[in-house]
Subunit: 194 residues, 4 copies
């Protein structure tokens, strides 16, 4: 019951974030295809952020599915994650409206880095609540992917000031790395999760 | 449990899409009935898109109701469908503000075609997850309606460049075809779905 | 399960409608109390519409709680109700920005009348799905309140053209009539609903 | 079942409120870091309000978790709370755009005071519905924190006219007081809530 509500609230926030990003795609007043031209970078950053939000939703889903116990610390670690996710529409808009300039690219990486750290904290708070021998603890293992993405986001932020397109390339790489579903948890809980 | 969360997240996104479309109906500053005049085409395209979103919600509901197993591929196929649905407010606004011009009519059809294809992919991913002898597999059958609507959307896109009103007529036809509830699934699972 | 999703989707739409209405309260740039002055009629119409949306949520909640069977017709009757509810932010904004002028007052009543009719249709579709001897059928009885409010909304629309304040007075009367919780259903299902 | 829907609806409204506040962070057209400068006070008030909304969600969660019975009065007491919470984005925006001026600081406190009173009413309505010997009644005890925060909000409103920064300091103090999770309820219901 408690877990259901944590999931429902997170789903609500994540669903709204996705749709808020769509609002950045302002309807053009002209009916020519070229009127859609200025929207292309906004659309592409929307796709990128949609994929990241989808990854978070997917991983959040799998992780909570493998959890049995929720406590007050988990609720706040989850709110902390939602806080950083809530800033994604802002940095997505800043990046998309400015055709991949250095500062917006770095800002995008900073918010994503903070979200990755917040997810890491949530994962460890959840594992602590389950106990060391829990199904979730075994499933998470060393959380290599989580650590690698924190490093990649940090690298991307640095690259943004050299060449923002390099930063975006790193960000796309992070997305590709996560698009492979988290086999660890699915494998350890096949009967219930799959 | 897993299915419940997939449904809840989809419901959240779909509910927000419907209400985002209402925001295109800007409150006029004048109090005359004629001040509502320019809103009429926006209102009518809102009605059309509301019906389509309602059809998706209804079919999604019936289809998932008949499904017992969810896996990682289903989660992503569902996110893919939500992505195309999330673009409906944009093309609805473009169509409504421009009184059925060729390009917006075609754009509307393109997004709807992609959503129809995404739904088709989701349906087949779900059936594959249930196994060939599953209740859902029997209920889906050949999915004739799904195939017909993909063809109709493609025809509508072509017609948009000849006469956008013909395209809209085809789109209304697709809506009418789907407004008949999907008897296939209701019939095969009467005790639980109906 | 089916009922749960119908409720969840309706809750999502209704929750968003409430918060969309708040967006009409534009943050003033000035810091004087008098800068809030022009917002007073917008605030009061927000309160009125919040109460109506709350009434709909409450009655919807009680009615579905007493229902055991959902079918395809109920899903569409529910979407039809949500459609008219989705127009409440628009007419609320038109009424609030124009200090109770005749046309916006009438438009408010028209949308509310259509919502009341849609609720009536939903109630009867639900009762039909349960069967004549069902708990819901007994609880609904003659649905006197539902019929009275349809009549009151119609009267209010007519009065709007004579004196819009009279119309608003009738609308407030409808709200007061419904603020008394629907004892019929609570009485017939005390152990589960109360 | 009834409780689940009350929770789901509240979650929906609260999730949307959080994300509506983010919309106040308008994407700047410039790509310099200094373009973010004017957003700093808006960001800080967003953080403050995010924390308060998170506190309400957390406490609401714990309180309803310990409740077994819901009645019509609880539904309206809950809607009353949601009404005041729905005004938080407005006062947050007014405060943030005006760099902590007296009137917006007082308005922020007034809405928060009303929300605190509404929560207090909801808590007592819920306890009344459970009966004097209930788990919730024991867990709530004298509700000292609830009473203290009502007093602190009132003090903050008064201080806003002397020095708005003092008011904000009091508001931050209220947040810190609540950030400590409500041990009372968790302690009395460890097996289910924690």
């Amino acid at each position: 019951m408690t877990k259901a509500r944590l999931e429902a609230f997170s789903d609500g926030v994540i669903a709204i974030l996705i749709t808020i990003m769509v609002l950045e795609l302002h309807v053009p007043h002209d009916v020519t295809w070229s009127a859609l031209g200025p929207l292309v970078p906004i659309f592409l950053t929307y796709v990128l952020s949609f994929v990241f939000v989808g990854i978070y939703w997917n991983n959040h889903h799998h992780m909570l599915h493998a959890a049995d116990r929720i406590n007050g610390k988990v609720l706040w670690a989850n709110l902390h994650l939602l806080f950083w996710l809530s800033l994604i529409p802002f940095v997505t808009g800043w990046l998309g409206q400015n055709h991949v300039a250095p500062n917006p690219s770095a800002a995008y990486g900073i918010v994503m880095l903070m979200a990755a750290i917040a997810y890491y904290i949530l994962a460890h708070t959840l594992v602590a609540a389950q106990g060391p021998d829990s199904r979730l603890a075994r499933a998470m293992g060393g959380d290599r992917k989580g650590k690698v993405s924190v490093v990649l986001w940090a690298i991307g932020i640095g690259l943004a000031f050299l060449n923002p397109w390099l930063a975006v390339a790193v960000y796309v790489g992070v997305a590709l790395m996560w698009l492979v579903p988290d086999r660890r948890i699915e494998t350890h809980a096949p009967a219930r999760s799959a």
